[in-house]
């Protein structure tokens, strides 16, 4: 089955610094990856996605990097702000039923 994991369960950064959150996956056939953000007391929200035919994708202050060789993806947040404090998950879809596997999450704390 699919295995999705995150390297660091917690991460603290100073406001204004860049943040990097990592995720490893085991199924080399995975062709789509998603990052979610979950604020305290709320449901997960889509941040950014990337397809396996890409190495990098940029959004507003966020960049996702995909390294298919080592089956690793990362989420980079530029100029981290207090509003970025949340738990971040990566997710990969299964092949059937529109199902996803979710990583356990990394808790990001931004220190003012």
């Amino acid at each position: 089955g699919e295995s999705v994991g995150l390297h660091l369960p917690t991460l603290s950064v100073q406001e204004g610094d860049n943040s990097i959150i990592n995720c490893a996956y085991s199924n080399s056939a995975s062709d789509y990856f998603i990052w979610y953000k979950q604020e305290s007391g709320k449901g997960p929200q889509f941040i950014i996605d990337i397809r396996s035919n890409m190495d990098k994708r940029q959004g507003q202050r966020v960049t996702v990097l995909l390294n298919k060789t080592v089956k690793h993806l990362s989420l980079q947040i530029a100029a981290t702000q207090p509003g970025d404090s949340a738990v971040y998950f990566c997710a990969v879809p299964l092949n059937t039923g529109n199902q996803f596997y979710f990583g356990t999450g990394t808790s990001l704390t931004v220190i003012p």
Partner: protein
């Protein structure tokens, strides 16, 4: 938020009692999901539905049943709640390759 609401948002119940959680969506999405979220586990799929009266089990379906008699409502039932079912429950819909989540229901089983 893709028009997803969950009710109740919080519930405290006793072991052995039945509990039903409701997920309601307003945008006619075909796929709906129930997840539970626990520390150290991430989101785990309980059941999902791919249409009215079409449901299937997920990874952690034991102790749970679901029903979908209308497109807009997906009900999760704990026939006899146990303390191990204390969790936060999220409903989701899928739109293309993305899943959109409801606000969650915090269930405590004493």
């Amino acid at each position: 938020d893709a028009g997803i609401t969950q009710s109740p948002r919080h519930k405290v119940t006793e072991t052995g009692t039945p509990v039903t959680l409701r997920c309601h969506q307003t945008e006619n999405h075909r796929y709906m999901y129930w997840y539970r979220q626990d520390p150290g586990h991430g989101l785990r799929l309980i059941h999902y539905s791919y249409g009215v009266k079409d449901t299937d089990k997920g990874e952690v379906s034991d102790g749970y049943s679901v029903s979908r008699s209308k497109t807009e409502d997906f009900l999760l039932t704990l026939e006899s709640a146990t303390s191990s079912q204390t969790s936060v429950y999220f409903c989701a819909i899928s739109l293309g390759n993305e899943q959109f989540f409801g606000p969650g229901t915090r269930l405590t089983v004493l």
